[in-house]
């Protein structure tokens, strides 16, 4: 029987109902048998992007590894809200040691598994942006450089949230944090070069680097799954809005993440062996302002006086990403399985 093109009618969100899909293509979260690695009852804020991202990523990895995985967590919100002793939300073997050593601890677990001949058990390290791009950076780079068999996931909410929203090396320019306050002639965070860890990871030429956001959870699942097809050091950088730190509405977490990608401020791409192999194209380009306006950490750019100069600089950053990753170019090959896009799908 020949393939019949089917058009999925959308509600403007690019979402596709799982029941319409081949079970293999359905989301991990739609599977009643999913691991629920980070199960309910934890104490994240309402609308926490980190909790959402972690659950999707880890459940996908649990499926990919058939439950044979161990997670190592850096100190941070994810650790604190998930394990208030004597409770835990983790339904997988989980170890928290320190703030700045999660990649090295993960290396140790992987080394132990290798020594014991248990290479079937896979290791995931995870932490916030502070734990990853700042204090844990030496350990992360060492783990990359040795190409240890670890997938490291950074949940990037662009500040030290657990300690009350202080600036990290991943805080974007102009953003208000508790240590980059909205006072003085240039309120908010400074304009520096930024620390672009996905690109730094690529410079290590590790087998797999990818970025994702909680706006496209299917893409996150697909990348977490794909990461497990490789051996060696892998890095997944996930943008996870934090309603508390960003000053966005709890109900807007997905929307804010989507605007980050649709403005070009957060490029979503994959890289294999140090080369970008695909990027997720912008579907409805928006000016950065659309993204900024939803977050009170940027309120000083609009009130009491509009800072067009600053907004322009932020737009320039987005434009740079659009150019660098070809975010407005026509899609050549789908970055993720076709079922996750809203293009007509061939249904057999």
């Amino acid at each position: 029987m020949g393939a019949v093109p089917v058009k999925f009618y959308q509600v403007g969100s690019f979402a596709v109902g799982n029941r319409l899909l081949d079970p293999d293509l359905a989301s991990v979260q739609s599977d009643p048998e999913r691991a629920n690695s980070l199960t309910s009852g934890h104490r994240a804020c309402q609308g926490c992007g980190e909790a959402l991202g972690a659950r999707y990523a880890l459940d996908a990895i649990m499926r990919a590894t058939k439950g044979q995985m161990i997670a190592v967590n850096a100190t941070g919100c994810l650790e604190v809200f998930s394990t208030p002793y004597p409770e835990t939300s983790w339904r997988l073997p989980w170890l928290h040691s320190l703030f700045g050593n999660a990649p090295a601890v993960a290396t140790g677990v992987a080394a132990a598994m290798h020594a014991k001949g248990r290479d079937d058990i896979r290791v995931v390290g995870q932490g916030g942006d502070g734990g990853t791009v700042d204090i844990g950076f030496a350990c992360l780079s060492g783990m990359f450089e040795r190409n240890d068999d670890v997938l490291y996931i950074c949940y990037d909410n662009q500040a030290y949230m657990n300690t009350g929203v202080q600036r990290s090396g991943a805080t974007p320019p102009a953003a208000r944090t508790a240590t980059t306050q909205t006072v003085g002639p240039e309120p908010g965070n400074v304009f520096g070069q930024g620390k672009d860890v996905p690109r730094i990871a690529m410079a290590h030429e590790i087998p797999y680097v990818a970025t994702a956001t909680v706006a496209d959870l299917r893409d996150l699942e697909a990348k977490a799954t794909r990461a497990m097809e490789f051996r060696g050091a892998r890095y997944l950088h996930v943008l996870v809005p934090c309603p508390l730190g960003w000053g966005s509405a709890s109900c807007d977490t997905i929307k804010v993440a989507r605007l980050a990608t649709q403005s070009g401020l957060f490029p979503v791409f994959e890289a294999v062996n140090g080369e970008v192999t695909s990027s997720t194209k912008i579907r409805h380009q928006v000016p950065v302002e659309e993204y900024l306006k939803l977050q009170s950490r940027y309120a000083h750019l609009f009130r009491p006086t509009r800072r067009d100069d600053v907004i322009k600089k932020l737009q320039a950053m987005a434009d740079r990403n659009i150019e660098r990753y070809g975010l407005l170019e026509p899609e050549l090959a789908p970055a993720v399985p076709a079922a996750m896009s809203n293009e007509p799908v061939e249904v057999a």
Partner: protein, 417 residues
């Protein structure tokens, strides 16, 4: 097997015989030869089922050991001095998590001023870290202590630091009876942790413990070290039975029978002190030595018992607590609480300064006449420090002491501009 061997190599071979599964290392003198030896064995395939991880820092070394140990692997690392300080956060974490990691500390001074030579400042800085600390007197003991350390660590689920004097022991070639594989296999059972990271039985390790249980966790850390006070002598006795050698234990008395003066020390200096004590005993002086092998846990009872008849103790230590004085001596004072025993602190051998027999003779004679100050810095250049102190009194210009002394003796180059 008896061998003429460098201390570091003897230790490396003993560690290898313990079948570690993960070794992680970062170079720092004088610890390097040990891990170099082990890396060779792993690469050559003589030490099998073992991962050797060349990490990017000591902080990572201890962190890798933490991950490995929590995953059920026997883990080992070695460090010294700045390296030990660089890993401190993870050192405390390992003991807090109850992970039986064994680490050699090749004792070395701490900078500034940077100094690669031996004293005990590094290990002493970690005396409250929750690790068991065993100090080796000889290379034979250093070798043997590593075998005992894994047993003690895994029995108690506590990490153990084996402290051996940098260069003095690590780099000395002498005869060492290196434990044979079969002997070690018979002595040290495989590591079987009660709680481990296992997908079949998932547990969360390292959660955030609040005020409701934190005191209990800390109390248990102490209680486990108190159990070590019983276990350490037991393991030492078992070791003697298996290997025919006296190594380890809590304290090591030498000629303290009826001694009026007892010198207390840790590590390799005990050999020199014993020689001096022998010579003084020959001259009829009532003097003995008490070596402390286990500094953590601190054997209060064993000390009290050993020192029961002493009139005075001279605690010779290779580190001190700036701003108060002796570290070992204040621990000894706790053991002697309520007793009239006089307690003299002598700080010696800092940054590798040789501790000679002549100085010790003079020192112990002074002690015997109770002419010692409560705190003495052995062989201190009084003239030099007095001059510096006088200048500081006259002119309170701040700055690094080492460089200030140079300026004061006129050894600083001319101004360029």
């Amino acid at each position: 097997m008896l061998k003429q061997v460098e201390g570091s190599m003897a230790v490396a071979e003993a560690v290898a015989a313990c079948r570690p599964e993960v070794i992680c290392a970062y170079p720092i003198s004088p610890q390097t030869h040990i891990v170099e030896g082990l890396s060779r064995m792993v690469k050559a395939g003589t030490l099998t089922s073992c991962e050797f991880v060349n990490v990017e820092s000591e902080f990572a070394a201890m962190s890798v050991a933490i991950g490995a140990s929590a995953a059920g692997a026997r883990a080992y690392t070695a460090t010294a001095s700045q390296g030990l300080l660089y890993m401190v956060e993870a050192v405390y974490n390992a003991s807090g998590l109850g992970l039986p990691i064994v680490m050699t500390v090749a004792n070395r001074a701490i900078g500034a001023p940077i100094n690669i030579w031996n004293d005990h400042s590094d290990a002493m800085s970690q005396r409250d870290s929750g690790w068991i600390q065993l100090y080796a007197e000889t290379n034979q003991e250093a070798t043997d202590l590593h075998v005992q350390a894994f047993l003690i660590a895994e029995e108690l689920s506590l990490p153990v630091m084996v402290c051996m004097d940098g260069f003095i022991l690590t780099h000395a070639y002498e005869q060492v009876d290196v434990p044979e594989q079969a002997q070690v296999d018979a002595f040290l059972p495989p590591f079987v942790p009660r709680q481990v990271l296992d997908p079949d039985e998932p547990v969360s390790i390292g959660s955030m413990v609040g005020p409701e249980a934190f005191t209990e966790v800390r109390y248990l850390a102490h209680a486990r070290q108190m159990q070590a006070l019983e276990l350490i002598p037991q393991v030492s006795a078992d070791f003697k039975r298996a290997f025919g050698r006296d190594s380890g234990g809590l304290v090591r008395p030498y000629r303290i029978q009826d001694a009026e003066t007892v010198v207390i020390a840790l590590g390799s200096i005990l050999g020199t002190i014993k020689d001096v004590v022998d010579e003084m005993r020959d001259q009829g002086v009532s003097i003995g030595v008490l070596g402390i092998t286990s500094f953590r846990p601190f054997p209060l009872d064993a000390l009290r018992e050993a020192l029961a008849g002493a009139k005075r103790v001279v605690v010779l230590e290779k580190a001190f607590a700036v701003g108060i004085g002796g570290i070992v001596s204040s621990n000894v004072r706790t053991a002697l609480a309520g007793q009239p025993t006089a307690n003299y602190t002598v700080v010696a051998g800092l940054g590798g300064r040789p501790i000679g027999k002549d100085s010790l003779h003079t020192l112990f004679e002074q002690a015997g006449r109770d002419e010692l100050e409560p705190l003495t810095f052995l062989d201190l250049d009084h003239e030099l420090v007095e001059r510096e102190l006088a200048r500081e009194r006259a002119n309170r210009r701040s700055g690094p002491s080492a460089e200030n002394m140079l300026r004061d003796v006129g050894a600083v180059g001319p101004r360029l501009h």
